[in-house]
């Protein structure tokens, strides 16, 4: 049970982010919830590469080691973080423009497109 704790944390973060996207009315809170879901996905990728008792995957700096953790998920997570940064920057810019046009941050009021 205690070995699975990182995966439980991943699941809990994901569900909290999903709750924020679905049920919050303030669009900044929705953007923060998207960021929380991104963090949970990045954590999931890093936890995949962990091997019990492994040292850092740098061959020249590891010292005495029996085995290393996997470095590939770390590279995948870096890429995912950069992508998340670009998306968050764009989301925040869109929120600024929405505020300028609609004068409100309530997602129930920003509904001119329907049907």
């Amino acid at each position: 049970m205690i070995d699975n704790l990182p995966m439980i944390v991943v699941g809990a973060l994901f569900v909290m982010g999903l709750y924020g996207i679905m049920f919050k009315r303030n669009i900044i809170k929705i953007a923060i919830a998207v960021s929380v879901v991104e963090s949970s996905t990045n954590l999931f990728l890093i936890v995949l590469g962990y091997r019990t008792g492994g040292s850092i995957p740098v061959y020249t700096l590891a010292g005495e080691f029996k085995k290393m953790v996997l470095p590939t998920p770390q590279a995948l997570t870096l890429t995912a973080i950069v992508i998340g940064l670009a998306t968050t920057a764009l989301l925040l810019s869109l929120i600024m423009l929405l505020y300028k046009h609609y004068k409100t941050l309530d997602v129930y009021e920003i509904r001119r497109l329907r049907g």
Binding site: N26, V58, T60, L61, Y99, K100
Partner: protein, 166 residues
């Protein structure tokens, strides 16, 4: 939130530490193939230099310092350098590391076992790190500057705001 600079204490600390931030960021970029870090991380550190100046000295003075196209030049140089590094290896495949283990620029082999790491190794990966670092500096600084300008625009058109956020 407008253009006024912060107090003299904040401005002095900023003047002392701002360039250290740039040097540290350049260190992280250049040692990307030896220690954790690399292009994106180092570039983000250097971009905090822009954010620090903007917050401490205020928007009006910062916009006077900023030359009009310098950030776009950073972005373009970084991106085009990365693509050209890829094309240089085209004799074998695209993005082939033709400099590694050849002995010339960035070409020394890395000795096995624990050691301090050799800066002169890893071939085109080092150049790619530097290109990405320059690009990320330009890109993130552009994001920060434009968001600041956008906020000023939004605040100025702030009439009749409905307080509905929850």
């Amino acid at each position: 939130m407008d253009m006024k600079p912060m107090s003299i204490v904040v401005r002095t600390i900023c003047n002392i530490f701002a360039w250290f931030v740039v040097v540290f960021g350049a260190y992280v970029i250049i040692h990307g193939h030896l220690s954790p870090g690399g292009g994106f991380q180092g570039g983000a550190i250097v971009a905090t230099f822009v954010a620090l100046l903007l917050v401490a000295h205020g928007g009006k003075r910062f916009m006077e310092w900023l030359r009009s196209d310098i950030l776009t030049v950073f972005e373009c140089v970084g991106l085009i350098a990365f693509i050209c590094i890829g094309f240089l290896g085209l004799r074998t495949t695209y993005l082939y590391n033709f400099l590694a283990l050849k002995g010339g620029l960035f070409g020394s082999p890395v000795p096995l076992g624990p050691n301090a790491g050799v800066l002169n190794s890893a071939g085109t990966i080092a150049f790619a790190n530097m290109a990405v670092g320059i690009e990320v500096v330009g890109g993130l600084s552009t994001i920060i500057v434009f968001m600041f300008l956008g906020m000023r625009h939004v605040i100025e058109s702030n009439k009749g705001v409905k307080k509905n956020d929850r």
